[in-house]
């Protein structure tokens, strides 16, 4: 039987994570073991702070901000 819990989704690259709605984005990131420092959150095309509460059924896009690896003065 399907759970009746209300959920929201976080999308990071090609992965989608389902979390309970009503929690903050920051709490959801901690729950998913994603460092809040390493991503930005975009809701409906707008950059939002991670204290925003996740709404039922919505999909919040996460943009990874860590780059590098190669020795890169051209970055």
């Amino acid at each position: 039987m399907a759970s009746a819990t209300m959920t929201a989704k976080l999308r990071l690259r090609d992965k989608i994570y389902e979390v309970p709605a009503g929690m903050t984005i920051r709490d959801a990131l901690h729950r998913l073991a994603i460092e809040p420092e390493s991503v930005l959150a975009i809701r409906d095309g707008e950059l939002v702070t991670d204290d925003e509460t996740l709404r039922e059924g919505e999909v919040v896009r996460l943009v990874a901000v860590i780059s590098g690896g190669a020795e890169g003065p051209g970055r």
Binding site: E35, P36, E37, S38, L40, I42, E46, L47, V48, T49, D50, D51, E52, V63, A64, V65, I66, S67, G68, G69, A70, E71, G72, P73, G74, R75
Partner: protein, 320 residues
């Protein structure tokens, strides 16, 4: 969360500054701060010609955008490395850099490594002992050489790169773990030009967190390449960044404090004169004329001569 300046909904919260800003005020704040750092560290002036090394990524395109907005005379340099990685990485990043320049009427210099030197970076790495499993070493060596050559030949006063605070803190962390005093002595917002022909290098974004440069690029609508270099996976520098971000999460401001305390220690003489190694005692490469730390050919010319020699030999002999 509300914008500290206007009370509208904030787009970004910078916990280390205890500062949340809306889109409009963040897009004003970042260039203001950049200008402040340019002056504070004496990077360049409005009469100087600046060459910005652009990769198509968020940091370098954001830097070019900011310098352009601030009225500096900044051209771009894109180096085509020939990296595909199944996603056409170099081709895609070049498109982004070219589109950015074309949209703003800016001049972009392009150097294609394969056309100029005879092989792409991954081919060169495969043909030499210099990072056969990963091309990062030959890539870094080649980029440094080409950037310096273009800056020198083009008569630019300064070469600007998009290094952000996370880049700087990760480098500092790595060099501190090994107490690489020579590298520590050379790290900073400005690397002066040398008499032997090394261009002056500056990092105007060195005090911005990576989240801030990414947020700026997104909010400005800059179309940058999201994909990371396919060879970056598992890189030590990324591991250091992740480690520092865990620290930052628990202690907001830890990364910035680490870097600023280092700069202050340096200013106070923690790294005595001479600890920066051979940079003061440079020789001229007989092949290309660029400065090198030891007599004879520079590492770039040695590496690429080897690559070209091996390109004409059967591979089983070449890689022996």
């Amino acid at each position: 969360m509300k914008c500290r300046r206007c009370g509208e909904r904030a787009a970004i919260n910078m916990r280390h500054h205890k500062l949340a800003l809306c889109r409009e005020h963040f897009l004003a704040w970042l260039p203001e701060q950049t200008e402040r750092f340019i002056h504070k560290y004496g990077m360049f002036g409005h009469d100087d010609r600046i060459l910005v090394a652009v990769s198509g990524g968020k940091d370098s395109l954001a830097l070019w955008d900011v310098l352009h907005r601030l009225g500096y005379r900044a051209d771009g340099l894109y180096i085509g490395l020939g990296i595909d990685g199944g996603l056409g990485y170099s081709a895609e990043s070049q498109k982004k850099a070219e589109a950015f320049a074309a949209d703003r009427g800016l001049h972009l210099e392009t150097v294609d490594v394969a056309a100029a030197e005879g092989a792409s970076i991954p081919e060169a790495a495969r043909l030499t002992h210099r990072g056969r499993s990963k091309p990062c070493s030959v890539c870094g060596l080649s980029k440094r050489h080409i950037m310096n050559r273009v800056a020198r030949d083009g008569g630019y006063d300064v070469l600007a790169t998009g290094h952000n605070l996370d880049d700087e803190a990760a480098t500092l962390f790595g060099n501190t773990l090994t107490w690489s005093v020579g590298y520590l002595a050379r790290q900073g917002p400005v690397l002066p030009a040398s008499a032997g022909g090394l261009a002056r290098k500056v990092k105007p974004f060195c005090r911005f967190y990576e989240r801030e440069t990414a947020a700026y690029a997104l909010l400005r609508g800059i179309d940058y390449i999201y994909d990371e270099c396919p060879f970056a996976e598992g890189a030590t520098s990324i591991y250091y960044k992740e480690t520092l971000n865990r620290l930052e999460s628990a202690r907001p401001g830890a990364k910035l404090a680490f870097y600023l305390a280092f700069l202050e220690a340096k200013r106070m003489g923690a790294f005595p004169n001479g600890s920066s190694g051979p940079a003061e005692d440079l020789h001229s490469c007989p092949t290309c004329g660029q400065p090198t730390s030891a007599p004879g050919q520079c590492a770039f010319c040695r590496t690429w001569d080897k690559v070209r020699a091996r390109l004409i030999l059967p591979e089983e002999i070449a890689v022996r």
